[in-house]
Amino acid sequence: MNDDLRERIDALDLPYRTREDLKASLADRDITEEEFEEILEMIFFEYERTRIEPCEAVGVVAAQSIGEPGTQMTMRTFHYAGVAEINVTLGLPRLIEIMDARREPSTPTMAVFLQEDWAFNRDRAREVSWQIEAAPLHEFGDITIDMEHMQVVVQLNKQVCDRRRIAVSEIIEIAPRKIKEKRHFRDFEVEGDAKRASIVFTPKDQESYQNLFQLAEHVRNVIVQGIDDIERVVVRKEGGEYILYTEGSNLRGVFEVEGVDTTRTRSNNISEIADVLGIEAGRNAIIQEALSTLNEQGIGVDVRHIMLVADMMCMDGEVKQIGRHGIAGEKESVLSRAAFEVTVNHLLDAAIANEVDELNGVTENVIVGQPIQLGTGDVRLIAKRVNLKT
């Protein structure tokens, strides 16, 4: 195939995908002009035939296409997706979770991609992972409870601190602040010694041992490095580059870490994506998550169906649930809502607000017993009657 042919293909009035397919099929192959013409003719003929027809009930078809394979999916909640160490919800529960537009998925995870300078070096990738993984104080040194002096003494391990690229002084500053802010425990005093790399916590209440132990518990578990919501990070090499997989998700936090490629990093928390990156990103996340959930189960579903569901969910600029508290519950038609769930309340409320059902939708028209405005019911063209006698 020569460049001339390539240009001719590019100029064709066909979808991008079809042009690329054609180029790929004809690559490293010589064809005659007649053959090319014949191929083009067949392609255009078929392209015309695959256009969607007006009045087609695409919504119902999409709902059926996603709902029907639901019966074939597994219920197994936990599964290991590629990374053996990280649990991810898959199968039907995950699909339901996506359609429910939950604020927080039951197993939030992220795939953090790295910028070029970090992505190909294991140690540098590790460095980024330390900035992300929530590390409690006890990982940085020994914590002892001094009952004689009613103190909690932290002896930091300088080597660990060096390895994890965090200065001792930083820890001394962060630890007490975080205990106060995140753990809401304030009744203590701190004394930090950067030189000897030690921190001494003294509770205000000098009488209670229980209090002392409580303080020790806070000290042990206070997160001094990384992002709070991200409990674990696994570094994996995939296709030559290192990728960080996390348990827990915090897009905004991760985006601020140096070395993270913000263009490719993704989370499985859809509403978080919509909040941080906008509704279009949220829509794409729904498509991507639903599609990968179905494909993982070996179920092929055309993207167009999932796109329609995603567009419907994101139509109003926020991610809305499929169901009572979302799309189905906010329909204009009283009868349609009443026929779905909480029948009586919808009717009573409609009466008070003087709602009017314009009978546009499917359920309403079925209820009053007239043709629905979809498919063959939507055609208003009527053939002229021909008189048979003449």
């Binding site: 919504g59 499929i322 189905a328 009586v344 008070i352 546009n360």
Partner: protein
């Protein structure tokens, strides 16, 4: 035809007491229903003015008979007002946001504007809510100090005074509340989302109760002649009885305490009459203890009015029976029993063109004796809508009377189009249109190739049949719903109808490797195909008789111009493909409609990934594809019958060597597990990152045992070759897998619950047969036996545990995915493609500017692609295309 009148819109509002009285045809004052003669009491609950249900009587309001009278409302004058339970939340809100003395909204104009927006703009639809008003403030209009309004379920409201520093609750009677609601000005109501033109809030406090017509609550006459009243009537009786007593006490000036008690009782009865499942209110019960089904319960839920009677309806002209297979039928046909064909009818209008034919139908009568006999008719309808049943006695007279303009309801005959359905109807292919073939027997017959879209099998499944009654319905059925139109699934864009099970084994056996057939054999194979001549023979045998190859025989059913190259499902995915020289004959090459090399199996003609099928649909259309499926099913069944195909217990037999090897592998695995446990117990185990020691050990054990099971499978597989039926089925993709075979012949492997070894049971052990805290393979559900050799008692128990999990899983899954499906349908059902290519709701809101971003119909796409470029290039160039 009915007139094309449309219901344009439905408006919702409240009835005012005035309207209720105006609508009422009779004031009801007696709690009794019928007198001793079984005649309704005047002004009783069954008053003849309210409509009639007994045949013979006439309605006193409209003077029509029971069948025609729609029923009329009556009314009960309540002695004192009572609250409508459904509106307690609204009443609570109104009491809390309005002043207790002047009933104005407790907000200044500025505050209102902040929430609702400037007066002249109606952009914001926001409504004042309870939270917008501070509690216990002073009224900005009259300066009255507000009190806290308490609400107690189900219908009690009270105000809280502070008296001498103590809180005192003062109950508000419905009459008090009504008085307060009456005073709320219309403008303020609008701000709170209430439209006073149709729904004044005081109307939610009932002073008059409408009595629904008798037609809505018919009484049933039991076998013993006793009348049994409807639940609603029972409840109304209670209300009237208390209401009467209340009135008497009131008139007699009864003590305050008794009046209050009666008022509460009346409130209770009206509450349960409206809704018998209110929180904080004991449900009213029938004498037998069953809770009454009152108004709310009639509407609610799956069997309620909305979902049960309005959205879903019962139909006539339907039939249901067991299904059974018949590979000699076309996929677009369905065999129906004579008994059903005789009972069900299609209305045909008599015209000058068909009057003789119709007359013959009438003469044939309603008893068709045999499948082959001509079809008759069951009813004749005259232009005045009088219906005449045809019986032996009146056949000839009716046939003579028959005139143009009459309608004959004729019986079903071969070729009639019907809708065929199997529940659960999860997708549109669950209902398809077939053509009838009348048959002997009592079951519906269908070609097994159409089982996948219905998800049907023949273990006792039943299916439904519906007869379209109008010309429009039949046209839609034929063009849109027919089996041909649904071969491609809109879910994937690939075929969903195609060969299954024996079709695949049969075609595999027929086309595998190169074989030659004698003429008799070829004729046997092709006897059900529509052929006019055989191709040139490929060779001759020693006696000079012509011989045909198996590939030639298969090529007979292919369209002449078909060109395609693909790999069969028996392809082993070798590193370097040897193409035509493939050892497994898995490289399929079809040039100009001739199968040159390769085996036809699931990949080629299977129900979900039939590649040949897919290509034929795209290049030759649905009709040709349907014929191809018909031909394949017939040919493959002959193919499998020519050789014979069976499977028995001795097909799982292995030799002594294999059994020895399997035992060796299993023993090795079990000792390996023991070894790892020992390492773990000695504390030498290295944990995996992010896992505890125990978890690491478990994963290792699972891995070792899984590998062992696979090894036994390999050993068994080595012995069982292509001469084994199970292997043929697994390799061709017809049914089962090598894993199933492993479990039958080799070893069952690890049983699991939630992806882990079996851990539950007694304290620290699964069964008393094992020591406490034992970690070994056998103690946690590893089954070393095979199905053939049989399981030991402990193994059998573990197997049952694992099997149970599967059953529970299926049960939970069906309900969950069913609900998901219902929600999805409800959310998306109103979407359609508009004439401009956008996707809109039926209300006109745009969802997508171009359907699927490229306007391609997934049902016509080639697995999602707008054009099957590969197929087109392949068919033009006749070469394999990547």
């Amino acid at each position: 035809m009915t007139s094309p009148k449309r219901v344009g819109r439905i408006e919702f509002g409240l009835f005012s007491p005035k309207e209720i009285r105006k609508m009422s045809v009779r004031k009801i004052i007696w709690a009794d229903t019928y007198d001793d003669d079984g005649f309704p009491y005047p002004q009783g609950l069954m008053d003849l003015h309210l409509g009639v249900i007994d045949p013979g009587l006439r309605c006193k309001t409209c003077d029509q008979k029971a069948a025609d009278c729609p029923g009329h409302f009556g009314h009960i004058e309540l002695a004192k007002p009572v609250i409508h339970v459904g509106y307690t939340r609204l009443i609570r809100k109104l009491l809390r946001v309005t002043c207790r003395s002047c009933s104005r909204l407790l907000m200044t104009a500025e505050e209102v504007e902040k929430i609702v927006g400037p007066e002249d703009s109606d952009l914001t639809m926001d409504v004042v809510s309870e939270k917008d008003v501070k509690k216990e403030r002073v009224c900005p209009h009259c300066g009255e100090q507000q009190l806290k309004v308490n609400f107690e379920k189900p219908t009690t409201f009270s105000e809280v005074f502070v008296e001498d520093g103590r809180k005192v609750e003062h109950k508000l009677t419905p009459a008090d509340i009504r008085a307060r609601l009456e005073r709320i000005p219309d403008e303020d109501l609008r701000l709170m989302g209430v439209n006073p033109d149709v729904a004044r809030p005081e109307w939610t406090i009932l002073t008059v109760l409408p009595v629904p017509p008798v037609t809505m609550r018919p009484s049933i006459i039991l076998e013993n002649g006793q009348r049994s009243e409807d639940d609603l009537t029972h409840k109304l009786v209670d209300i009237i009885r208390i209401n009467q007593r209340f009135k008497e006490n009131q008139d007699a000036g009864g003590p305050q305490l008794i009046i209050e008690d009666l008022w509460e009782l009346l409130q209770y009865h009206v509450t349960t009459y409206l809704d018998n499942e209110v929180a904080g209110c004991p449900p009213a019960r029938h004498r037998s203890g069953r809770p009454l089904k009152t108004l709310s319960q009639r509407l609610k839920g799956k069997e309620g009015r909305f979902r049960g009677s309005l959205s879903g309806k019962r139909v006539n002209f339907s039939a249901r029976t067991v299904i059974s297979p018949d590979p000699n039928l076309s996929i677009s046909e369905v065999g129906i029993p004579l008994a059903i064909a005789n009972e069900m009818t299609i209305p045909v209008r008599v015209t000058p063109f068909n009057i003789e034919e119709m007359r013959q139908y009438v003469l044939n009568g309603s008893e068709r004796p045999a499948v082959k006999s001509p079809c008759g008719a069951n009813y004749v309808i005259r232009p005045d809508n009088r219906r005449m049943r045809l019986s032996d006695a009146n056949l000839e007279t009716v046939a003579e009377m028959l005139e143009i303009g009459w309608t004959v309801e004729r019986q079903l005959k071969d070729g009639d189009i019907v809708l065929f359905n199997r529940q659960p109807s999860l997708h549109r292919m669950s209902i398809m249109a077939h053509r009838i073939v009348v048959m002997d027997g009592k079951t519906f017959r269908l070609n097994p190739a159409v089982c996948p879209p219905y998800n049907a099998d023949f273990d006792g499944d039943e299916m439904n049949l519906h007869i379209p009654q109008t010309e429009e319905a039949r046209a839609e059925a034929e063009i849109l719903v027919s089996v041909q139109a649904n071969i491609l699934s809109p879910r994937t864009g690939g075929p969903i109808i195609g060969g299954i099970h024996d079709h695949i084994s049969g075609i595999f056996l027929l086309t595998h490797r190169l074989r030659h057939f004698r003429k008799e054999e070829v004729l046997y194979l092709t006897q059900h195909l529509d052929l006019d001549h055989l191709p040139e023979p490929d060779a001759t045998d020693d006696d000079g008789n012509p011989l045909w190859t198996n590939k030639q025989v298969f090529s007979l059913i292919l369209p002449g111009e078909l060109n395609m190259i693909f790999r069969a499902s028996s392809c082993q995915n070798c590193e370097t493909c040897r193409r035509e020289m493939c050892e497994n004959d898995a490289y399929v090459r079809i040039i100009d409609g001739q199968l040159i090399v390769g085996t036809i199996d699931k990949k080629a003609i299977g129900a979900f990934d039939g590649q040949i099928l897919h290509r034929i649909i795209r290049q030759y259309g649905m009709k040709r594809a349907a014929r191809f499926i018909d031909d394949v099913t017939k040919l493959s069944i002959r193919g499998i019958m020519l050789q014979g195909f069976s499977f028995g217990i001795d097909d799982e037999d292995l030799t002594r060597t294999e059994y020895g090897q399997i035992d060796e592998v299993l023993e090795g695995a079990i000792t390996d597990v023991e070894r790892r446990i020992k390492i773990f117990k000695e504390g030498q185990l290295e944990p995996m990152p992010g896992r505890t020691l125990e978890e690491t050990l478990e994963m290792q054990i699972m891995q070792v045992l899984g590998k062992a099971r696979d090894r036994t499978g390999e050993i068994a597989g080595r012995h069982l070759g292509m001469d084994n039926s199970a292997v043929v089925m697994a390799v061709s993709g017809a049914r089962g897998s090598m894993l199933n075979l492993t479990q039958m012949a080799g070893c069952l492997g690890q049983q699991s619950v939630r992806g882990e070894r079996i851990m539950r049971g007694y304290e620290d052990r699964t069964l008393p047969h094992f020591r406490r805290n034992e970690l070994g393979a056998q103690a946690h559900g590893f089954i070393a036996s095979s199905y053939k050799s049989g399981l030991s008692p402990t193994e059998f128990f573990f197997h049952a545990i694992g099997g149970r999990e599967g059953l529970v899983d299926t049960a939970v899954r069906t309900s969950q995915s069913g609900y998901l499906q219902r929600r999805m349908i409800n959310a998306l059902q109103d979407l359609k493609v508009a004439y401009d290519g956008t996707v809109r709701t039926t209300g006109g809101r745009i969802i997508q500017f171009c359907y699927g971003e490229d306007g391609t119909d997934p049902a016509r796409s080639s697995y999602g692609a707008p054009v099957d470029v590969k197929g087109i290039v392949e068919s033009v160039l006749k070469e394999e295309v990547k």
